[in-house]
């Protein structure tokens, strides 16, 4: 099964002081402008390039019916023109100066990721500051981009059976909270977003006091901060966005999703309500994910893929979110596999963990995997920028980037078992199955 993009987010990171990395809290220069923009700067001259990441505290979590998918749509529109730089000029200028960019939207945040040669720094700061409040949403461009998103949804969901099932399962498990819909949004909303509503949404969430700017690489921090002050300083702060108040009510019993669809292979997806990043059980469950699901030696891979040969692959786990989300298990079953049997095997393995916890060796393995992942992210300026911004927005502060491994090490096997007992209950579970039908015509 193709890992979904969210796995990148799941990589939680790192570095306790004792780990001996060259990168530590003292390397981060922190500043907050009067308009509320938080700025994090790291000087690193290994390559003559810069990673400039901008994080906005807005994601599908902030949307409502009718406007689902709009956070991601605005992410696209951010490349489509302001008063100062017309449609397409951001990309053309950036590529002319040797730079490249991308952006991503998650449940909780939207991030803009720029990679460019050091000489392009001032141009990039100029263009990034400009688009915080300068988008024009030219109607023809708005319609064209709507088509792009529809194509993205057809590619990522409607022509991908696993994704169809996953969207159904998540929407069934989560009833009230805006995590009910996926980041891409419902097709009918994509096809009917109104320009004035989109603009109102943009004005609400795109403001310096709702953003974090991270610049890592071949920079002079003092000069860079002066440029940031010059271009971002004049942008007024906005009224803080309204809080998300909807809480998911407790699930009252197990839920099932069954999809019958033309397909060559079945799909399987199971989820349980799970804590947000800031809640006590998050880290024990994040540790549990490794011995349960990571790699060929994990318990579920061994049983489902190797021993019983019910599945082609298995993956999943936790992702760090602001509000409670899900512990997910994705299985790609073999054609003709008994999907009930797959569900029973998963239940048995979870029951074993609830009874006996994980072994000391499994606990150490999880820590080794988490440390390796952490260092790998620190290998590149892009990885460092992503880590710092994500920590600032999702983990409760950029400093958390440097204490996460210590948090993992401080967790205990008892906590892992207790968290498993709380989360993996029938009352908490939603299971989805896609069963192939028809096919040969």
């Amino acid at each position: 099964m193709r890992p979904k993009a969210w796995s990148a987010l799941v990589m939680v990171l790192v570095l306790a002081g004792g780990l001996g990395a060259a990168f530590g809290p003292a390397d981060v220069k922190v500043h907050q402008l009067d308009n509320g923009l938080k700025v994090l700067l790291v000087e690193d001259h290994d390559i003559p390039n810069v990673a400039l990441y901008t994080f906005f505290r807005v994601g599908s979590r902030n949307e409502r019916p009718g406007l689902t998918g709009v956070s991601h749509f605005i992410e696209h529109m951010m490349f489509n023109g302001t008063e100062k730089f017309g449609p397409g000029e951001f990309d053309r200028t950036m590529e002319f100066r040797g730079g490249r960019n991308n952006a991503y939207t998650s449940l909780d945040l939207t991030a803009y990721t720029d990679w460019f040669p050091a000489a392009a720094l001032e141009h990039m700061i100029d263009m990034e500051a400009d688009r915080i409040q300068g988008l024009t949403f030219v109607p023809e461009v708005f319609e064209s981009e709507r088509g792009v998103i529809a194509s993205e949804r057809r590619l990522g969901v409607e022509n991908d059976n696993d994704a169809i099932l996953q969207e159904n399962v998540r929407a069934t498990a989560i009833m009230a909270h805006p995590y009910h819909w996926d980041v891409i949004g419902w097709m009918s909303d994509i096809l009917s977003w109104r320009r004035d509503e989109v603009i109102a949404y943009y004005r609400t969430y795109y403001a310096p006091n709702n953003a974090v700017l991270v610049i890592v690489g071949d920079i002079d921090p003092a000069k860079t901060l002066a440029l940031v002050e010059r271009y971002y300083g004049p942008i007024p702060k906005a009224t803080p966005p309204p809080p998300v108040t909807t809480a998911e009510p407790p699930q009252m019993g197990p839920k099932d999703v069954l999809i019958r669809k033309e397909a060559q292979t079945p799909s399987f997806h199971a989820v349980w309500h799970a804590p947000a990043f800031g809640q006590a059980d998050f880290i024990p469950l994040f540790i549990l994910e490794k011995p349960l699901l990571a790699g060929d030696s994990s318990r579920l891979h061994r049983r489902l893929v190797r021993d019983e040969q019910l599945a082609i692959s298995v993956s999943g786990g936790m992702q760090p979110t602001l509000d409670p989300y899900l512990f997910e298990i994705f299985v790609k079953p073999r054609p003709g596999a008994d999907l009930e049997r797959i569900e029973r095997v998963i239940d048995e393995e979870l029951a074993r963990i609830q009874a006996d916890g994980i072994t000391e060796a499994e606990f150490k393995k999880a820590l080794n995997i988490l440390r390796s992942d952490a260092y790998r992210e620190l290998e590149t300026i892009a990885g460092q920028a992503d880590l710092l911004g994500t920590a600032e927005v999702l983990y409760g502060g950029w400093e958390r980037a440097f204490t996460l491994v210590a948090s993992y090490e401080a967790a205990t096997r008892d906590e892992v078992r207790e968290a498993a007992r709380k989360v993996f209950q029938e009352m908490n579970k939603t299971v989805g199955k896609l069963v192939p039908e028809g096919g040969a015509k």
Binding site: M1, K4, A5, W6, A21, A22, F23, D46, I47, E75, H76, D91, E95, F96, R97, R100, N101, N102, A103, Y104, T105, S106, W115, P117, V148, S151, E152, L155, G156, E158, N161, D182, V183, K261, E262, Q264, T265, G295, D296, S297, R306, Q309, I312, Q319, K332, P335, K364, N368, I369, L370, R371, S372, Y375, R376, E379, T380, I381, A382, G439, K441
Partner: protein
């Protein structure tokens, strides 16, 4: 759950790593030290200490899919995977358990001309991880039971691929373009070839083809040279060439299409139609490389490329459109690819053909060429930033005999390219009438839109094979 603004095809990124890469004046590929083992194996080594990690890479020439017998299609790749499924001293579970316990990642995969082995590990665990990797490489067990599990899993994966038209179209294209040529062998194998295979046949392939004499490696990371040399000598240094002559490892030149060849694959539940168009490229190390890469950057190699501008940015027909080159020792391939909703596939192909004609006939403006030069130069340093990127580059350059100054020369060439040279590359490499075009989609809806392009060979996604 994450959605991205820009789709970045994996193939495109790989192409950049492999083929592109001018050196910014301020930045050059750090030169590695050469380590020669007593058994003749060569390693390239660079010490880095930013993070306590070590990256290891190895190419085994002549063990890739181009070397597999036609009846063992997919066998090279399956043999490479089976290296990790048990050795003379460890079971498959023990190998996985030991490596994963250390947080180490060991991958093996067969490309066309070589098998690649890569290992990434925390520095403190690297010696043990390399011992296991060497054991896998030097004494794989090829147990019947492990072979059967992996083979059956692959047969199932082939079905899953057909559920995803975006993936399936690449498999159909590879078959349509290369046919019986060794480059037409699917790394996944086919149901027929997998059914014919045996652990014994793969073991024989391994014994004939895996040789230290055809292997080159690199190690980059936080490890001292003396310790590394001792570690390599007592692990891979013990690997001996098998008796018997070294089998040939040459790849015949890829086929060149004559006239348009059109293939339509029916997938009745598809709501988008996916196309891949291909034509001859150029061989690895060819003098046209710099001009071709610059031309492709402008045609379909970046976000503001012609293809993505016309199909996505201007018209909103698709989430992504791109083109790329791939090169082997004896030849290369150009492909352009995109997808759109069923009723727009005719328009999408008209535009694509129009851009191919424009590239050859008009070429590119001076400002565009300058932009592409800057882009290639500016995006080069990050491709060498991580330990694994450096190690991969050393091995690739050494394997193809390109020299560690390859990118220095390449950058200098890119920096001096003129619009005339970009146009000449377009005229030579962008196809006009000799190409292969494969479309996967709902035939009943898209057939009428495709008729004007010529006569299509029709297939069904439910037919066996590709």
């Amino acid at each position: 759950m994450t959605s991205r603004t820009k789709c970045v095809p994996a193939a495109l990124v790989a192409a950049f790593l492999i083929l592109t890469g001018p050196l910014a004046a301020a930045f050059r590929l750090p030169r590695p030290e050469k380590i020669s083992l007593a058994n003749g194996m060569t390693f390239y080594y660079l010490r880095t200490t930013d993070v306590p990690l070590v990256s290891f890479q190895l190419y085994i020439g002549g063990a890739g899919s181009a070397a597999e017998p036609a009846e063992l299609e997919g066998g090279a790749n399956l043999a490479a995977d089976l290296l990790l499924k048990g050795t003379a001293t460890m079971t498959a579970d023990e190998v996985a358990e030991a490596l994963e316990f250390m947080g180490a990642d060991l991958f093996t995969s067969a490309a066309e001309e070589y098998v690649r082995v890569s290992l990434e590990s925390l520095a403190e665990h690297f010696p043990r991880a390399l011992e296991i990797a060497a054991d896998c490489l030097m004494s794989p067990a090829f147990k019947d039971e492990e072979f059967r599990k992996e083979r059956d899993r692959r047969i199932d994966q082939l079905k899953a691929i057909k559920d995803e038209p975006g993936q399936a179209v690449r498999y159909y294209f590879q078959k349509a373009y290369f046919g019986d040529h060794p480059l037409g062998r699917l790394s996944s194998g086919t149901e027929a070839s997998l059914g014919r295979m045996s652990a014994q046949a793969l073991k024989a392939f391994y014994e004939a083809r895996y040789r230290p004499a055809r292997t080159v490696g690199a190690v980059v990371g936080d490890i001292e040279k003396r310790a590394l040399v001792a570690l390599l000598e007592r692990t891979l240094g013990k690997w001996r060439n098998p008796a018997g002559p070294t089998p040939a490892a040459s790849l015949p030149p890829p086929p060149r299409p004559r006239g348009p060849r059109l293939v339509l694959v029916d997938k009745p539940d598809a709501t988008q139609a996916y196309f891949v168009l291909g034509a001859p490229g150029y061989p690895m190390g060819d003098p046209i490389t710099a001009a071709a890469q610059l031309m492709n950057t402008l045609f379909g190699g970046r976000f503001t490329s012609w293809l993505n501008t016309e199909l996505r940015i201007e018209r909103g027909l698709t989430y992504g459109a791109s083109s790329a080159f791939r090169s082997w020792r004896s030849g290369g391939l150009f492909t352009a690819t995109s997808y759109t909703k069923n009723d727009k596939i005719g328009e999408m192909l008209d535009i694509t053909f129009g851009l191919l004609r424009k590239g050859s006939a008009q070429g590119f403006e001076a400002a565009e060429v300058e932009s592409a030069r800057n882009y290639i130069e500016g995006q080069f340093p990050p491709t060498l930033e991580a330990n694994g990127s450096k190690a991969g580059t050393y091995v690739r350059l050494a394997f193809y005999g390109l020299g560690f100054d390859y990118y220095d020369t390449y950058l200098a060439k890119v920096a001096g390219l003129s619009p005339e040279e970009a146009k000449a590359a377009a005229a030579k490499l962008l196809p006009s009438s000799d190409f292969v075009l494969v479309v996967v989609g709902k035939s009943s809806e898209i057939r009428p839109l495709l008729q004007k392009f010529g006569t299509w060979q029709e297939k069904k996604v439910t037919d066996p094979g590709f």
